[in-house]
Amino acid sequence: MIYREAGQFKINYQSDSAILPIVQDRMFMIGLMVVSFLVIPVLGSDYFLAGILTPFLILSLAALGLNILTGYAGQLSLGSAAFMAVGAFATYNFMIRIPGIPLLLALVLGGLMAALVGILFGLPSLRIKGFYLAVATLAAQFFIEWALTKFGWFTNYSSSGVISAPEMQVFGIVIDSAAKKYLFTLAIVALLTLAAKNMVRSSLGRSWMAVRDMDVAAEVIGIPILKTKLLAFAISSFYCGIAGALWAFVLLGTVDPQAFDLHRSFQVLFMIIVGGVGSILGSYLGAAFIVLLPIVLNLIGQLFHGAISTQFLSNMEMMLFGGLIIFFLIVEPLGLARLWQIAKEKLRMWPFPH
């Protein structure tokens, strides 16, 4: 009976179109924000912050980026990691080539560079659809990986091709501890999530979904197809680019093309399938799932005191991922986000289900 909306009347269109129209949801979100920003950084161990929460947040951002393109605009991409790589390398190059550039500015510029590259590889989407387009995005994946490894300029002619990220500073504060890195990531991810939510609930988001659901009808209504698709590519790549830069700078501390290979692209795709295609919440749930699954598997492995080899565990992980993808596509194509929604609907009725 706690979660009930009876008696909450919407008296104008503004309150009807609010992000969280139900009071309980709003309270929950405020609570979540307070805990994430104030409680967790103080109480969380370094391992919890740097090993679980930070990668979770960054991957959520990447998943959000792909979800904008694939879930909302309906353009399947197998090249998310390539756009992450562009973001990471562009941010790095802005930082070392423009002395004294603020980190946030470099990050935004890096994201914009990724958006630019995204537009370039999104151009074919006017003429090709579905898996033809998916294959075209693979071109981005291979070409960008190759270019970043092959041309010394991108890595500032480092001999190993792997470069350590420069020191990060925001408003005079050096971001060095696990807690600060977590907070920095959280702030960016939270802001970008809000922006994404706003975009998908206004006319741009409706245009994306219209193009996804039926492009001929969308064009007849007057939606400019190419512009809508390219905006999806640009914004999605911007999100992926920022995620890539955070992955390199905050999480790894190195900028390395290997961190953004095809496997990473698939990982991001899996997150949105498991979490929920076309759902912002789903991006988070999917990322949490993908981050936690190997950790849980490892714990199970430890229970057997090394009787299970790590090789076996990693094979198991592959089978589990693959199996779950198929499971979700068959049983619940809208992913964990849909399960969450169903649970909420049940809760609304509780304890009187009729």
């Binding site: 003429r127 071109a139 399938i273 068959i330």
Partner: protein
């Protein structure tokens, strides 16, 4: 000039091997509209299974027969357990399901057969021989011939046999095919079984060339541009696409590579395919669809 021809012939022969992988895709796409990303994983699974059975001391042909049996079973199982349950989903969902499938099969293959690299000996020495002053690898020629025979056989099968006609009918319109009495489920099972067989042949050839190892799954990535060039629905398209990609990437690597740093084999076919898509989105031999509203 002689060098040019050698590079090109080498590329063309390698291209036939790409066609072989692409063929597995075309078969399934034609019959069920599924873009089967797991074809590469099937290739790996087939090769690993064969090598592992042979290592147990089973003679070549018997091992081959057992593997074929396993691949057919696997194909049928995939159709039963996964695809039949996804029948009315959008093509993109089916495609993503096959990506999941490929992870599952790769994990399974390595869980069952281990992760070490196996050699695979088909008894053909890979020595170059001289054809009018051009050196050609004997193995390449063998592989190309075998692939060619297989492809020709399948093309004939599609065009001339009753089953082939039924397959094409199914590809065209499931409902209509059902209504004229074509047993849809049998057809799909057969197609998946044939795709398993093609995967086995591809796995043997690629396995003896690269060693039987995880990297075999990557041949799927070579086959995708081939498909785009040739069109998803065309058997001859898979061949011509394979030849173009094979020759194109070798020539590009040799003549273009030095100027831009080399190692371009990985992406060149994709860029080629991409440029081609913009000019002719349905591929060389694909059918153009008129969208009706």
């Amino acid at each position: 000039m002689q060098f040019f021809i050698e590079v090109m012939v080498g590329g063309l022969l390698a291209g036939v091997m790409y066609s072989l992988v692409a063929l597995g895709f075309v078969l399934i796409y034609k019959a069920s509209g599924v873009f089967n990303f797991a074809q590469g994983a099937l290739v790996l699974f087939a090769a690993l299974t064969f090598v592992s059975i042979e290592k147990m001391g089973v003679p070549f042909w018997i091992a081959l027969a057992i593997t074929l049996g396993i691949m057919v079973l696997m194909g049928v199982a995939i159709e039963r357990i996964v695809l039949r349950r996804l029948v009315n989903q959008p093509p993109i969902s089916l495609f993503m399901a096959t990506i999941g499938l490929s992870f599952f099969i790769e994990g399974l293959a390595q869980t069952v057969w281990g992760t070490e690299v196996h050699g695979l000996e088909l008894g053909i020495t890979d020595e170059p021989f001289d054809v009018m002053g051009v050196f050609i690898s004997k193995f390449d020629l063998f592989a190309a011939t075998l692939s060619g025979v297989l492809v020709a056989g399948l093309a004939l099968f599609f065009q001339k046999t009753k089953l082939g006609r039924a397959l094409r009918a199914v590809a065209d319109d499931h409902q209509a095919a059902l209504s004229v009495g074509i047993p849809l489920k049998h057809i799909w099972a057969i197609v998946w079984a044939v795709a398993g067989f093609v995967a086995l042949v591809a796995g043997m050839l690629w396995g003896s060339r690269l060693g039987v190892q995880f990297a075999l799954t990557l041949v799927v990535l070579k086959a995708l541009p081939v498909l785009i060039l040739g069109g998803f629905t065309s058997v001859p398209g898979a061949i011509v696409g394979g030849l173009i990609v094979g020759a194109g990437e070798k020539l590009a690597e040799v003549y273009l590579g030095p100027f831009i740093g080399g190692g371009i084999e990985n992406w060149f076919p994709y860029m080629l395919a991409l440029v081609f898509l913009l000019v002719r989105p349905e591929g060389l031999f694909g059918e153009r669809h008129i969208e009706r509203v």
